[in-house]
């Protein structure tokens, strides 16, 4: 899974918390969901850059928090899935296989 931020998502810091809004709805309809990320969610969001895959994001978070990547991979995966299902992230298949057919 290679997550990248969806187009038309705006973010704002409010009293330390990260608030996201999906702006993908067409004019005349309510804007999409608005959500607040917890600390871990904010860190995950900050690491999503379209180049890191899930393992890489978990590895970086593990380094920051002094734990093993295995210990947090499940949480990171769940957070990414939530953000994808909410329309805040897109999930690409990952880099194309460079080997010839």
């Amino acid at each position: 899974m290679l997550p990248r931020r969806a187009d038309h998502v705006a973010t704002c810091r409010v009293a330390g918390a990260l608030v996201l809004i999906s702006l993908s709805a067409p004019a005349g309809e309510l804007a999409g969901d608005v959500c607040v990320l917890n600390d871990t969610g904010s860190e995950v969001w900050g690491l999503v850059d379209g180049r890191r895959d899930m393992a890489s994001i978990a590895g970086q978070l593990a380094k920051w928090h002094g734990v093993t990547a295995d210990a947090i991979e499940q949480d990171v995966a769940a957070t990414l899935e939530d953000l994808v299902s909410g329309g805040y992230l897109r999930s690409d298949a990952g880099p194309a296989d460079p080997s010839p057919p």
Partner: protein
């Protein structure tokens, strides 16, 4: 556009009127077949079909759309329109956002003296240079359309915004503080409820930019002004607990 001026209790004069904010001028020009509204370079101008015979529907539609354009222009000055009634008592002012049919108008009608209602359906929240927020009333278009009494409010009237209380029905009176992030979410939703039904439609990129502005303004408001959730039975006294909860905030703002 004197009709719109009447609805807003403001000087909006034809054929070439303007409504000025400190940084924003909206020009309204009326010709034989159209009303042209512009606020360049912030917004693209629009021309609204306008039937000179002044049928009631035509007049209402033109006023509604010009006000929609005005509210978009004001968003560029940091204003945020909430789907809310607003009640006040002296320097105490509380926005009461709620979805349609969930008690905004009833709340505004029920508050006893010395409380009064600033408006009952839409309120324009505007920040000042000192970081305080002020509420201005906005017409209650559904009431005006249905020719019921009231529905017009003097938009130049204002009240300090002491708090935002998101109201709803409940079995008992229940007032709870709401964290800034959660308040930002709910304020954004309230603003989008109004914006979704607003005419005229502008180009999609302009509409999207407006959404971002509203979102940022909602976040700023939520960070600066205390917010609550307030549920109560239809006929309960909600204003007494509200005043008690806000007394410390009012004292703090008086000191500052």
């Amino acid at each position: 556009m004197s009709y719109l001026g009447d609805l807003m209790h403001a000087d909006v004069t034809a054929p070439a009127g303007s409504v000025r904010d400190s940084d924003t001028t909206v020009r309204i020009e009326s010709t034989s077949g159209t009303v042209r509204v512009s606020c360049e370079p912030l917004l693209p101008s629009v021309e609204l079909p306008y039937v000179k015979s002044l049928t009631r529907i035509s007049r209402f539609s033109a006023a509604l759309q010009v006000s929609g354009y005005l509210s978009r222009a004001l968003e560029h000055a940091g204003a945020l329109m909430l789907h809310a009634s607003f009640i006040r008592d002296g320097r105490l002012g509380v926005a009461l956002p709620a979805s349609g049919g969930t008690g905004k108008t009833t709340a505004a009608r029920r508050v006893p003296q010395p409380w009064s209602a600033l408006c009952d359906d839409a309120v324009l929240i505007v920040p000042d240079a000192e970081g305080s927020y002020w509420a201005h009333p906005w017409p209650t278009w559904s009431v005006i359309f249905n020719r019921e009494p009231d529905g017009t409010w003097p938009i130049r009237d204002s009240s300090p915004v002491t708090a935002v209380a998101f109201i709803g029905r409940g079995a008992t009176v229940d007032l709870r503080p709401l964290g800034p992030a959660a308040a930002a979410v709910r304020a954004t939703t309230s603003a989008e409820q109004l914006a979704a039904g607003r005419w005229p439609r502008l180009p999609e990129d302009t509409e999207q930019a407006g959404r971002v502005l509203r979102f940022e303004s909602a976040c700023s408001l939520a960070a600066a002004v205390p917010s609550f959730t307030l549920t109560y039975p239809r006929h309960a006294d909600f204003w007494t607990p509200l005043r008690a909860a806000l007394a410390p905030h009012l004292q703090a703002s008086s000191i500052s």
